[in-house]
Subunit: 194 residues, 2 copies
């Protein structure tokens, strides 16, 4: 059970679990039309991932996996963080969020940042909770480059690469992404417990 | 020498210094039309206050006092912080900054915050640097209240008070303000060294 309606995430976690072995089948939230939309009220990625996974495990009676992720800028003490998708004040306006961040950091020379993802696994009935963190470290550009990906991809250059994550092909990004790293880190637990 | 063109700040520091004694005369930046406009590129209030005081001490050959201040929200790990005046991406748009912060924290129950000011004293010729911090702790409201003050005053309720700092009379705010606290903390150093 993966707490998402995002087909890309379901496919990615299914591929990663197939590599780990264990024969677990991942089903997405779209199979449970009554599943609650869980507000992301936590102050950390782990808080939010666990909130979502707990709510879905409670509702479905199945082991639930959820993730929360975002961009942590060093000059902003780790923010936008859990507010990455609503940084400009409204949920999901990628362009406004990115333009706001560029404006805030216009005079700031500290460009260090990281994409961070926490994946959480919650078993139903309070019988177990785990979380795992994946990090992709890098720096922030001063202007957008590339048109792949979403969110802050056009201004994020991963450590050791000459391009932004929006200039990588989807498969190249998947191979190094914070989400992939978090999913791979929690996959053995899913295979063993779910 | 106070690194500001703000007459209110000059009068406030002069009053505080008169209380401490020492007979130091405070002159503002408007007496030095060639003084540089120092970009606030630091990552901390102390960085910026020292940057400004150093630049003015270098330029005028006088002991220089400068301050930097802002709002530190617990849920944002201390941000807007040094970016308080340009949080919405453009310098000095108080309404946009405040509305953005309210939007970012709309789903967030952690409302703790503090107004923080760091005052710095720099002697010319590299003969000494000091800084002092003043803090006013409180909480953030979910809607604006009051029309005094500026910046985030309409959404900041000081600890122990039933009103926002925008609902306080100017003299009441001065008596508890982060800037007053920082100026009082550095005043004995100014009286002794300047």
């Amino acid at each position: 059970m993966l707490a998402t309606r995002n087909a890309g995430k379901i496919a990615e976690l299914s591929r990663i679990l197939a590599d780990v072995g264990g024969g677990v089948e991942i089903v997405g939230l779209e199979s449970f039309p009554d599943a609650p939309d869980v507000p992301e009220t936590g102050l950390t990625f782990a808080d939010n991932a666990l909130l979502k996974a707990r709510a879905i495990a409670d509702c479905t009676g199945l082991p639930a996996v959820a993730d929360d992720s975002g961009l942590a800028a060093d000059a902003l003490h780790g923010m936008p963080g859990v507010l990455s998708a609503r940084w400009a004040g409204k949920h999901g306006d990628d362009v406004a969020n990115l333009e706001l961040l560029l404006g805030q950091l216009a005079d700031v020379s500290e460009r260090g940042a990281a994409f961070v993802c926490v994946a959480a696994l919650v078993l139903p009935g309070g019988s177990g909770e785990w979380s795992a963190t994946g990090v992709l470290a890098g720096t922030l550009t001063r202007a957008k480059r590339g048109s792949n990906g979403f969110g802050y991809d056009p201004i994020f250059v991963p450590e050791g690469l000459p391009v932004t994550t929006a200039e990588l092909a989807p498969a190249e990004k998947d191979a190094i992404s914070h989400r992939g790293r978090a999913f791979r880190a929690i996959a053995p637990l899913i295979a063993a417990r779910a």
